[in-house]
């Protein structure tokens, strides 16, 4: 299915009243861009609910929601999109959420797909995702996330991935070839702030906001696999590892690797035995020491379901915010990986792979 870019629809008077407080933040032009954007969200988890909420409230035009799985009992009472007075376990995740989302913002057109799209062939996936303004995939395995990212990267479709592991969660961004409002640096400080060589500079008109000048610039982003397989072994990298790799990164990487090998059984005790050597390897590869890690294997049960709702809220909020920034070609996004750990209250962004 391809979605043709329809002619720009203007924001109505009634929408203006509802969106007042956000238009005052990101401006009318940005609101119009949102109003004409088509968003794909794959994964109807608690994190999915947070992302769908933020983008629906922001006022996107179309939201396509994909998940083929049925609602589980444990999700009732935790996912705010479900009405607990009906039997949700006979519904797939987004179908159970439809009523809430429809009422949340009636200006947003909802399309629910009860299909395991990621199990299809690359060609089928490719033809499905083309035409979306942004593709967001949540709580998926390493392999399936990397596969979807490779397709989106090829066509320069804005891409976001994210997952929650109990109390810890990550978000990954690939906005390759898309532009952002970038502050025009003072020429005198140019030497200190040169952009990386691989950044294609595509300057357009300069806008002035409160004495600061901005211009649209496009940036190149690495793929999901490149970002999560950074080589920390070079001499140069070794020296800065302690400064640039947050300790929560090793937890995320461990969980991603475990999902790749499908080596997890669901039995927490057994799984911690599997996870510990992977984690140790990742920590040492990252030139950190095991003893200095604030979260040790005795807390690894906190990397297991149920999703810790505050972590979903923080990761979901960041994903929503960054999605809005790229759709509206607004101010610069944070780096390409963001990790929140409720275990030590840290929310850190990093740029991987290390250059």
């Amino acid at each position: 299915m391809t979605i043709e870019q329809s002619e720009n629809v203007e924001v109505s008077k009634q929408e203006l009243q509802i969106y007042d407080r956000q238009i005052r933040l990101w401006g009318m032009e940005a609101q119009t861009k949102l109003r004409n954007s088509k968003v794909l969200v794959i994964g109807g988890s608690q994190l999915g609910a947070e992302v769908a909420k933020t983008l629906s409230l922001a006022g996107v035009d179309e939201m396509h929601l994909v998940d083929h799985r049925f609602v589980e009992n444990s999700e009732i009472g935790a996912n705010f999109l479900y009405d607990a007075s009906i039997d949700n376990t006979r519904l797939t995740k987004w179908v159970a959420a439809k009523n809430f989302l429809t009422n949340l913002n009636r200006n947003v057109k909802l399309f629910i797909v009860e299909d395991d799209i990621l199990s299809k062939s690359d060609d089928e996936i490719e033809s499905y995702v083309r035409g979306f303004t942004i593709v967001i995939v949540l709580d998926e395995t390493y392999t399936r996330t990397a596969k979807l990212n490779a397709i989106c990267h090829k066509h320069q479709i804005r891409f976001v991935a994210g997952a929650i592991y109990g109390w810890v969660g990550y978000a990954f961004f690939d906005f390759d070839g898309h532009s952002f409002l970038t502050k025009v640096e003072d020429p005198s400080s140019q030497g200190m702030t040169t952009l990386d060589d691989d950044h294609k500079n595509n300057s357009t008109a300069v806008v002035t906001v409160e004495d600061e000048q901005f211009e649209q610039k496009t940036y190149s982003y690495p793929t999901f696999s490149a970002a999560f397989n950074s080589d920390f072994s070079s001499k140069k990298a070794m020296r800065k590892c302690k400064r640039v790799i947050p300790t929560s990164y090793f937890l995320v990487k461990t969980m991603l690797r475990a999902s790749m090998d499908s080596s997890l059984t669901g039995d927490i005790d057994k799984d911690i035995e599997t996870l510990t050597p992977i984690w140790k390897e990742e920590v040492l590869d990252g030139n950190h020491t095991i003893e200095m890690q604030p979260v040790q294997p005795d807390k690894f049960d906190h990397l297991y379901p149920p999703e810790f709702s505050p972590t979903s809220a923080c990761i979901g909020g960041i994903i929503g915010q960054e999605a809005i920034k790229t759709i509206t070609e607004g101010k610069l996004p944070i780096r390409n990986i963001f990790i929140y750990s409720a275990l030590d209250s840290t929310g850190i962004a990093c740029d991987f792979p290390l250059s």
Binding site: Q17, L195, P310, L332, S345, T346, C350
Partner: protein
């Protein structure tokens, strides 16, 4: 091994009070229910407005004008029926929410949008000895502060910046240079004509005002004498005398008054004087939209003719409204379409006369209504961080953090910034209490600089104790004479109009101020400041003179120490210097490992505080 939930069993038994069911409140209630909290009570006096719907996701269009606390409670129970969630659609200042009420909970979570209520809850939690998590958001920026009595700073340990900027009266009345000055003036015009008249809000030229920017220029030249006529008469009275004839009122505000202003030529030596504009001329300046069309075009710039048209239309409509409800006093309301249109038209005409760029009604509304931009994602993150810290606190985890969300991401590809961790959430241990805090310290002292011959007891109560120090029902006693100065039961109302000096409150007096509701007693030290007129006052958290004296002493002491050190240095031999140098080298080596992060943290912390100061108001 069972799931992590088993290790955090207290989540189910802890009793929480949530104050506020707005932007952060909706997200907070959702997170609490989803995390498994079972006992929650929420208080909010507000009703739902259409402009809340972009972020307060528990509310729908059909809920507009309903109670926020009630709807939020209902909607949360829809997805989580097992929660024991109660609500009050009431003000947190109500007497029923006394210290005993606060004691029923294990912890209090603030999701408020104003300083007054935040101060009050801070005091109630202090009195009830309950931990409090304080929060706020503004655009992309947010913060969470953990407050524990005796262990951390309280909400009032540091002075907070005023939530609304004020401008000198003469700038507003005589020499506006920015659109905001015209907007403030236009709000005053509205109050003078249709609302509650406040003598501080005079809109006519201030004939006696000196030029604040050029204070040497006096206003007493001969030409200015001419400007002093005619004797100013109340704007409302004058408008009544011409039956609120729109053209006449317009001419008075924008022609006659401006003529007087122009004559005060000391004001215009370094500025461009304004141009008087009559209603007749205004209506032909540019294409004019009809009154109804103009109101719908709130995101485009109105021509001056349109402004004049809107002005006349609004005067007509507001007059009708006043006549219909003679007992009701209108007050400025940014969401009242006619009032807002009137203020926008007035502000733009004045801006035009003073050669200031005119703005759209949409933009003027933000200035006039002090609107803070707000989005769902920031509130979601703030609420997430609140619950994370709440869970840690009830688990007895000492490692609680106060956090800021950094609103200025660094550009991707900036090589310098690649060298360190990039914290989006700047977390840090909460600061220790301020030993001089007048709310949570043992001292509890405030110094006030006033002119006792001019300030009244009533002003002391309303402006100092209630407005500035946020007390609700202060009882005040003069410690020297044991006289009761103010009694919250009204026994001392006869004293209210008296000047402080008339009841022998002079320089050096110490007043004990007691608020029963907040369970707070503080000492108010009176200091004479003769230059202050009327009810004006300055407030200080410590004695200015004593501070200066101490600073002087410290400086002297430092000087002495330095001299002594210098002497010592001269005596120190070469060898020890060598040693010192070697030591420093080792330090440097060590510091290239870890400390970069530490140093960064310190830097960023100060950054965060600066940000905090920039927040005007929060959700």
């Amino acid at each position: 091994m069972p799931s992590w939930k088993e290790k955090h069993g207290k989540i189910q038994t802890t009793k929480l009070l949530v104050v506020g069911a707005g932007g952060i409140g909706c997200e907070l209630l959702k997170n609490l229910a989803a995390t498994g909290f079972q006992n929650v009570h929420v208080i909010d006096l507000d009703t739902i407005d259409i402009s809340n719907l972009n972020r307060q996701f528990l509310f729908r269009k059909e809920h507009v004008s309903s109670s926020k606390a009630e709807i939020a409670t209902k909607v949360v129970k829809q997805f989580c029926p097992s929660i024991n969630l109660g609500f009050d659609h009431a003000s947190i200042f109500e007497e029923e929410f006394n210290v005993e009420f606060f004691k029923k909970f294990d912890m209090v979570l603030n999701a408020l949008d104003n300083k007054k209520a935040r101060n009050h809850v801070n005091r109630m939690c202090h009195a009830a000895n309950k931990p409090l998590i304080e929060s706020g958001s503004s655009g992309y920026f947010g913060q969470v502060q953990v407050i524990m009595r005796g262990k951390t700073e309280c909400y009032e340990c540091q002075e907070k910046p005023a939530s609304q900027k004020t401008f000198p009266g003469c700038t507003i009345r005589n020499t506006p240079s920015e659109h905001i000055h015209c907007t403030v003036w236009a709000k005053h015009v509205f109050n003078q004509l249709f609302g509650e008249v406040d003598i501080d809000d005079d809109v006519s030229p201030d004939m006696e005002a000196e030029d604040t920017e050029n204070p040497n220029e006096t206003g007493n030249s001969q030409d200015d004498e001419a400007a002093k006529e005619p004797a100013p008469i109340g704007t409302r009275k004058w408008a009544e005398s011409v039956n609120f004839d729109a053209a006449k009122v317009f001419d008075k505000l924008f022609f006659q008054d401006i003529q007087y202003l122009v004559k005060m030529d000391h004001l215009w030596k370094q500025r461009k004087p304004p141009t008087p504009l009559s209603f007749a001329v205004a209506t032909t300046t540019g294409e004019s939209l009809s009154f109804a069309d103009a109101q719908n075009k709130d995101t485009s710039i109105w021509s001056i003719a349109t402004c004049a048209n809107v002005f006349a239309g609004c005067v007509r409509e507001l007059l009708k409204e006043i006549k219909l409800n003679p007992d009701v006093t209108l007050s400025f309301d940014k969401d009242h379409p006619i009032i807002m249109a009137f203020v926008a038209a007035c502000a733009n005409v004045r801006a035009h006369l003073f050669s200031i760029h005119t703005k759209t009604m949409f933009e003027i509304k933000a200035m006039a209504g002090n609107i803070i931009p707000a989005i769902a994602s920031t509130n979601a993150i703030v609420a997430g961080m609140i619950v994370t810290e709440a869970v840690k606190m009830i688990d007895g985890n000492a490692d609680v953090k106060s956090s800021f969300i950094r609103n200025q991401p660094n550009p991707r590809g900036k090589k310098l910034s690649l060298n360190r961790l990039f914290q989006i959430f700047l977390e840090g241990a909460p600061y220790p209490p301020n030993p001089k805090c007048y709310v949570c310290s043992e001292t509890r002292e405030v110094f006030i600089y006033v002119n006792p011959a001019e300030m009244t007891v009533g002003a002391l109560r309303d402006k100092v104790l209630m407005q500035e120090l946020n007390m609700l029902q202060p009882d005040v006693m003069d410690t020297n004479t044991a006289n009761v100065v103010l009694s919250s039961d009204g026994d001392t109302d006869s004293l209210l109009p008296k000047k402080l000096s008339e009841i022998s409150i002079e320089d050096g007096a110490i007043l004990t101020c007691d608020d029963f509701m907040q369970d707070m007693v503080l000492k108010l030290f009176i200091r004479r400041a003769n230059h202050l007129r009327g009810d004006n006052f300055e407030i200080a958290r410590s004695d200015k003179e004593k501070d200066e004296e101490e600073a002087r002493k410290k400086e002297q002491e430092k000087h002495r120490l330095e001299e002594a050190e210098n002497k010592e240095k001269l005596e120190t031999d070469h060898k020890s210097e060598e040693e010192e140098r070697r030591k420093r080298k080792v330090d440097e080596k060590e510091s290239s490992e870890e400390p970069d992060v530490k140093r960064t943290k310190v830097e960023e912390k100060t950054g965060g505080e600066e940000n905090e100061n920039k927040i005007l108001a929060m959700e």
